[in-house]
């Protein structure tokens, strides 16, 4: 990937705040909205979800998920040409009080300080979504695939 594309990818992932999360729901796809943060090393997307929510039950039943981060509509860009990043990854619930959970909590609350009260509820927990592979579409007919490790390096460079 060219340095220009890598910079655009990192700006997109760091600049947006909400992703579309695809989970397996009784064997079918289910897409819901999740606010997300990135770990400083780019190794995971962090989400904070309730056990009462369908997507949480889905992730506990099957860790295979997909995340989509899209450029904002408008900005003078045709809808077909919006930049977007699809991540296929593995979701893992983090044990409360663990070191990993602490890192994820810090990254998440740095981005969403208003979510702090929710972290006191027992039914909410942090999940780390580790990228396995990704596809970045920078615009019309500009699509490129990359491995999870490559994505993490690109995200860390802007972390």
């Amino acid at each position: 990937m060219s340095p220009e594309h890598a910079a655009r990818l990192a700006a997109l992932a760091h600049g947006r705040r909400a992703a579309a999360l695809g989970t397996l729901h009784a064997g079918a796809p289910f897409v819901s909205m999740v606010p997300y943060a990135l770990l400083p090393d780019g190794g995971a997307f962090v989400v904070h979800v309730s056990r009462l929510a369908g997507h949480t039950k889905d992730m506990l039943a099957d860790p295979r998920v997909s995340l989509l981060v899209m450029q904002a509509e408008g900005e003078g860009v045709d809808a077909q040409a919006l930049a977007r990043l699809t991540v296929q990854g593995e979701a893992r619930e983090l044990a409360k009080g663990s070191g990993e959970e602490g890192e994820c909590r810090a990254a998440y609350l740095a981005r969403f300080p208003e979510a702090e009260p929710l972290t006191a509820f027992g039914d909410f927990s942090f999940f780390a979504i580790r990228p396995v592979q990704a596809r970045f579409v920078a615009g019309f007919a500009q699509a490129m695939s990359l491995a999870g490790e490559s994505l993490s390096r690109i995200l860390a460079a802007r972390g």
Copy 2:
């Protein structure tokens, strides 16, 4: 659903232009971006996709899909409270030249006139995604489920 919530749902679905499409990709969820239009009767979301794209192959292999339409970020709303609509539905490719395809093409090009040249490419086709069920989250702790027919009626009222 209250008239106020129905009006907000319709405004969201008619006002946005790009959705997150969840498909089954080798048994795992895959989320990609699709511009969409609505049929005037609210009976389907219309997308225009290339057979070269992964999501198209996925829909041809398994018609079960999910669409997410999200309120724009910002607008003074916390990310957790963004309004969003998840649709679970069935995707069907429309035969070129059929009456149904004509209706879908008209609805799509009314919204995306810039896509007209792409319709001349043989590898692009229209798919209609019929809602089977839906979930509307109007804001924090304001979630409601509805049947596909109910969603269609709400969308048609604003069509």
